[in-house]
Symmetry: C2
Subunit: 457 residues, 2 copies
């Protein structure tokens, strides 16, 4: 392997400043007002690949474009697909940001901006590692195929059809994704399991318009009352989801896995202190790591109804809406969950109320095998980049494309997270540790080398 | 009684145009941004009384001023206190108004504006009736004391202390309030019962900020989940409030009253058609009129939590808030309800969540006796104004001051509503039928005469 350290050192300032340029683009995929920004971000990423002389295409979809960039084939060495996304979550509540979400700001060694870690900053490490190889050695040791999409934060609806339609162009031996976290600061990890997701919006309607709660209250069904009753009926006091068949396909955690989780240095008191909560809660009979990584959940993400201004308004609202999701574990099928949920909600819906259920997106959970040469290569690369052997962990979030790569391309994914779990992804003050940014670039550069040592027949 | 008809006829257009002037003032007491408008409305009302040469005071309170106007004493005749309010509800949702809420617009014989019926339009009928007497007969047949406040829509917090501090100045033989509805179009009513109210805001807090629902979901208590569970636990599927002691002081409806309700020409199908609901709902074992007039309720008026924008945001919200109220029936004590509610909510609040309960305002329900000369006078006056003998009814809304007048001044209130129950009070497109506005003025002018016939010792 060539010595890339000098190059990485010399250009580290530029890497940071380029990342800031990308972070300044408010590529919020959930908000159609930012469609132009989303496209600008795609162009920006494509320009990066063009500068490296990769084969670049801005592939149009029914939604936001996918940036596809391919380097030259390397006979005898594996082909590696790198997936990432250039879109970001909405930044609100805006008033809780210390510095504006789209004005990247360094404080205490961290870069603060929406998308800093999820996923612009992490995705960018692989581009800069490729650059280091190309500028230093004049070539990459493996063929890289970058797939950088713009709809990850809204369910990647157009990605799976794109993969399905391009299986030959995207053919590879493994996938690499950096869109998650280390186990803890200074303790890098390889993530072998992800939860799935099924996200919905429930809209209830009652009378044709808001009514006086005195004149009409008690005689007309109240959609806000109905919303609370229906949603609370979806989970019991023991934290168990109350939808027929919901747990049918859930595999129990093995004793071995529970032991392995238990050995990880997870400090529950420190976790509570960081979140500023007096107690943790969740499904009865499971530890906090088990609940977050390997058990399904029901979480409301948004509630809207009636009068939300200052003071008291005595209104019986005409409408009430909730956004909510289930996190799923491997083998739970989002389609099956959707059907069971809709049936359950229709049964719970009281007379005088009509319901509309919007099924936003779903993805199954996944676990990948640990006994592969790819995983071994990733272990060595991370040790080289971070100076420490990674641990194995699972992750509560969802990266739906992992299942799609498995099903459509027949390959497993290496989930190599450079972030930290207090990075405030999806929250105000999202950040990325700049030291980890540079360690990630180094680990990625080593990864291309380590993977090139796997001989292909 | 002098013949006032010619005067009322001749000035009817000006009465409407003056009312429109008052309706253009956005005197929204719930919204501190409109404090200036609230004060302008008070001045406008005071100017009306000044033009009639009444004794006028703009009495300052800790909140909005109370307009107090007194006419000359009439020896041997009763003194009548007229109560009304110049403040209005917030107009939102604004996009559902056909014409802007503070630009009064006539369509189909109705005047559309926020406050048209609640209470500016109805209150104004009594001012114009007084004007007709003064301009025509040169005097009023009874002494009138007008108390027009500016905080009715936010709980009248400062009115009761004002009455308590001014019992001699406000001493009277009966109170007249027009702030409610006829039984139906063309069927005027005297309302002898009102529900009380207890209004709250519940604020739940979980983690210090919004979190990623994948990374944290299942391991941390979700305030939006908790809000739904806690609120839905306050009422069961039979529509019964689940707070210990809530029904202890509720008097059962008498067989005679249920029969009387049953005889009123209430068309349930028409009621459903107007509200555009497929079914009615409410407490088991009661009719719709009983549920709306004479049974307590629990209604959520507003829900706020997490992400409320377009699309999907996978967030575990840090906070969740609800505004809600109980309508109370006579003998239920709002203070007792507040204490029992707070205890119940604290018991329901799950670990990891903290709660704050804001007690906005409360008022007991009330019923007034029907066998008095004041009620008989009102019957005759309404017949003169509306051409039809009024029926007796109860009303689901709350006019907290009725209990205060009873307790502090020792007098009963005549509730003479000129509105209709489809007037959209507290809703978009609030209206007041202009024919009823003029009938109300005429009934009020007759009322001063009829009351003057009650001999005082």
């Amino acid at each position: 392997m060539p010595d890339l350290d000098a190059y990485l050192e010399q250009h580290s300032g530029r890497f940071e400043s380029e990342l800031c340029d990308l972070l300044r683009i408010a590529s919020i995929s959930a908000d159609s007002a930012h469609r132009g920004d989303v496209r600008r971000a795609a162009q920006w990423v494509a320009d990066q690949f063009r500068a490296l002389k990769l084969d670049v295409e801005l592939a149009e979809t029914a939604g936001n474009p996918i940036v596809l960039a391919t380097s030259a084939p390397v006979p005898g060495a594996p082909t590696v697909l790198v997936y990432g996304h250039y879109d970001v979550q909405p930044p609100d509540p805006l008033d809780q940001w210390t510095s504006p979400p789209f004005e990247p700001t360094v404080r205490g060694g961290n870069l603060y901006a929406r998308g800093a870690t999820d996923d612009k900053g992490q995705m960018f490490t692989h581009i800069k590692a490729a650059e280091a190889w190309i500028r230093t050695a004049g070539r990459l040791p493996v063929q890289l195929k970058f797939v950088i999409e713009g709809e990850e934060e809204v369910g990647s609806q157009n990605l799976e059809p794109f993969i399905a339609a391009n299986t030959e162009r995207l053919a590879c031996d493994c996938v690499v994704i950096s869109d998650n976290s280390q186990f803890a600061a200074g303790l890098p990890a390889i993530t072998y399991g992800l939860r799935g997701i099924a996200y919905y919006e429930l809209r209830l309607a009652g009378p044709k318009q808001d009514l006086h709660s005195g004149t009409f209250g008690g005689g007309v069904a109240n959609p806000a009352n109905a919303l609370c009753a229906m949603l609370s009926a979806l989970v019991n006091e023991r934290g168990q989801v109350q939808i027929p068949g919901f747990y049918d396909d859930v595999e129990p955690l093995t004793a071995r896995e529970r032991e392995a989780f238990g050995r990880l240095p997870f400090d529950e008191a420190e976790f509570m202190r960081k979140l500023e909560v007096a107690a943790l809660a969740g499904e009865e009979g499971f530890t906090t790591l088990e609940r977050r990584w390997a058990r399904p959940t029901f979480d409301i993400s948004g509630l809207t109804s009636g009068y939300q201004g200052e003071g008291a308004k005595t209104v019986l609202p005409a409408r009430a809406t909730a956004k909510f999701s289930f996190r799923l574990v491997p083998r739970q099928d989002p389609k099956k969950i959707s059907a069971a949920l809709e049936q359950r909600l229709r049964a719970l819906c009281p007379p005088g109320i009509t319901l509309e259920l919007i099924d936003f997106h779903g993805a199954p959970g996944i676990v990948v095998p640990l006994d592969s040469p790819y995983v071994a290569a990733a272990q060595r690369a991370i040790e080289a980049g971070f100076g420490r052997v990674p641990v194995f962990m699972r992750e509560g979030g969802s990266i739906p494309v992992v299942a799609a790569f498995h099903d459509l391309l027949g390959v497993d994914t290496l989930l190599l997270g450079w972030g930290l779990d207090d990075d405030n992804t999806h929250s105000p003050n999202e950040k990325f540790c700049l030291a980890d940014f540079h360690r990630g670039i180094k680990a990625s550069a080593h990864l291309w080398h380590e993977l090139s040592q796997i001989k292909k027949s």
